[in-house]
Subunit: 392 residues, 2 copies
């Protein structure tokens, strides 16, 4: 690893919380942190062009090795000059190893110490992958940040199951590290350990002893209650080296982002802002609203009058309501632009507040007005989505 | 009608054909003709923003009174400040009366001289509309060009049925004309008469005697063979006044546009370029190609190397193939941008050629290299599409 290409500079820490402002140096530009990565699993952030992503302030996107391995195949992307060129995105990219997808999406998995056999969720074809292969794939894709292969247990698995998955994740992380050939990609390890503080400690201790460029907190935001997610994030973040970036995987609701920034997280990704957008949910500073609600059918104002995104500057809530009623494709795009702008602005404001030393009051003010989506509805929606993914 | 607001200037006629170059003056700008109108039935050209449409050279779009009457309702669009404001489009708009949709899309129609009773294809609700109401609706929407209500028979209906529909169309056109209150909208009549030259003559003669701002050729491109469409277009266009714009409804394949321009048509609309785009068909100067073809899976070049549209400038054919394989929403948008750019460029080139006096060789060159989609496939696809619309 050429460390100059993948430095992390910690610039400021909040005096009242663990919030940090910093910057990630990558071969495709410097990324201010805290940062949120929109999800582009299949080499596209759904509905948007690279130019639109840039215009709304996106500095880095996430793509997924599992998805790209199945379609179009790693070799094709390599032949096309790598993932950046393939998707015409010249800013930073992080590729997830696909561990979570293999363990949540692919049917008929068989895992052993060597690796994992699974069937494609697309055509049922059988595949065997190992930590070494996952690194080879990610070197082929050429993202700026790549992830070790982890075994991701379910949120309600027993202590023993979670411990076994953690141990395997550690062995795999070490093998990933050893098999890395390119020196321009930052490899991050993924801390596992479920909802067991003792395991989180073991996992953080073991992985930091190996010395990675960054550390992810994995195995959270997968169906457990929000209080548990936050408690585990807090528990884990403090165990990670202060001079390395910390990445909380799968977190992306506005309130969770702010709460997790306060606990010392620098990097986030989640499909939530873009996924709920396609179901008509728009973030506002008061909470999530749904444009399909009849109240919007005659509203001449933008859905979020505080917002300066293209969608809110250009169209009335009534027009958006109409597009969603008609299931017009433009609807999904306009909602995605709004939600990603909201999240991008939120992250920028959080960062400014950390730099100004005002993060604590910024957080309190934001959370005082933002009404989170009811937890029961949230988990229920997530479960429905997981079920629909597994059926498709 | 304030004629200054809706003038048509004939600038040049081709010496070797009936092709014309002109300009339409509308309250929302001057539109060079021949012109192709992308279809935005529901107040959106599927997948694109108004800015994108402008960037690719679109001067006027079509929206549909039938669709907008059902959703969101004319009153709502009026309250929102009219159709231009509602869809954030400040260039010209033409609204179709919805005659064709009522007669092709809505189930359980009952037509009499007064008007037509039909059920909504969306929720089955019953509606009664008259020529007067259709004008009132279009005055509420506020398009620059509005269409008289016509009765549109099927392409294989008998002479007697087609004659009866024509006669009713004439009565309705007269009632539309009489009920017009706004003086800033150009009202066009629709010539009917099916595939019967005798009826086309009667229809053109009757409607031109009433004196409309423009004339449409209706009841074509609805399933009859292409040779018949062209023959009827030729037959009808010459019967229409030279100093008025001529609008051929529902025509939009590259070869049909060029052939119909040669027969004296100024204005076209069709969902074809945008609809086939969403099925992966890209126009090129050699003909239509389908990006889903395996040949494109590893092609580093753009799908159309001659093209300067955003899609072809930015992405490889392999990337587009991948997006279509994954049914990614961005796919439909990128293909739409390409096809509308192709048609827009084609119309601009045709116009330049007419102005230069080189249209005849331009036409021959274009048609010599452009291989039209096989007629059998074309009619079959159209029938499938009509069936799927009627089931939904």
């Amino acid at each position: 690893m050429d460390s100059n290409l993948n430095d992390f500079h910690l610039i400021q820490t909040c005096p009242d919380s663990k919030a940090r402002a910093g910057e990630l140096v990558t071969p495709h530009g410097v990324v201010p942190t805290p940062v949120f990565l929109p999800v582009g699993s299949q080499a596209t952030v759904k509905t948007l062009t690279p130019e639109e992503l840039k215009a709304l302030g996106v500095e880095m996107v996430l793509a997924n090795t599992y998805h790209l391995y199945l379609r179009p195949g790693i070799t094709i992307i390599e032949k096309m000059g790598g993932l950046h060129k393939f998707m015409a995105w010249d800013r930073a990219i992080l590729t997830d190893s696909g561990g979570y997808q293999i363990f949540s999406l692919a049917p008929l998995r068989q895992v052993n110490d060597d690796g994992v056999i699974f069937r494609s969720h697309i055509d049922g074809s059988q595949h065997f992958i190992t930590p070494e292969l996952i690194i080879q794939f990610q070197e082929g894709l050429g993202a700026d940040i790549i992830m070790a292969l982890d075994e991701c247990p379910a949120h309600d698995d027993s202590f023993e199951k979670v411990r076994a998955a953690m141990t395997r994740t550690h062995q795999w992380a070490e093998r990933c590290q050893k098999s890395q050939k390119r020196n321009d990609q930052a490899l991050y390890a993924i801390v596992q350990g479920g909802i067991f503080p003792q395991l989180r400690h073991q996992s953080a201790e073991y992985l930091t002893s190996l010395g990675f460029t960054g550390y992810a907190i994995g195995g959270l935001s997968i169906g457990e209650p929000k209080t548990v997610t936050l408690a585990m994030t807090e528990e884990t973040a403090v165990l990670l080296p202060a001079d390395k970036p910390r990445y909380l995987m799968g977190v992306g609701s506005p309130e969770d982002l702010i709460e997790s920034i306060a606990r010392g997280v620098d990097i986030f990704d989640s499909a939530l802002p873009t996924r709920v957008a396609r179901h008509g949910a728009f973030f506002t500073r008061l909470g999530r609203v749904n444009i399909c609600n009849a109240a919007y059918s005659q509203m001449e104002l933008p859905v979020d009058p505080d917002c300066d995104c293209y969608t809110c500057r250009t169209f009335s809530a009534a027009y958006l309501h109409h597009l969603f009623s008609c299931e017009e494709l433009l609807a999904y795009r306009l909602a995605t632009i709004h939600n990603l702008t909201f999240i991008s602005n939120l992250m920028q404001k959080a960062r400014s507040a950390i730099l100004d030393g005002t993060f604590s009051s910024f957080k309190d003010n934001f959370l005082a007005s933002y009404k989170p989506t009811d937890e029961w509805i949230r988990l229920n929606q997530k479960q429905k989505w997981l079920n629909s993914r597994n059926q498709s």
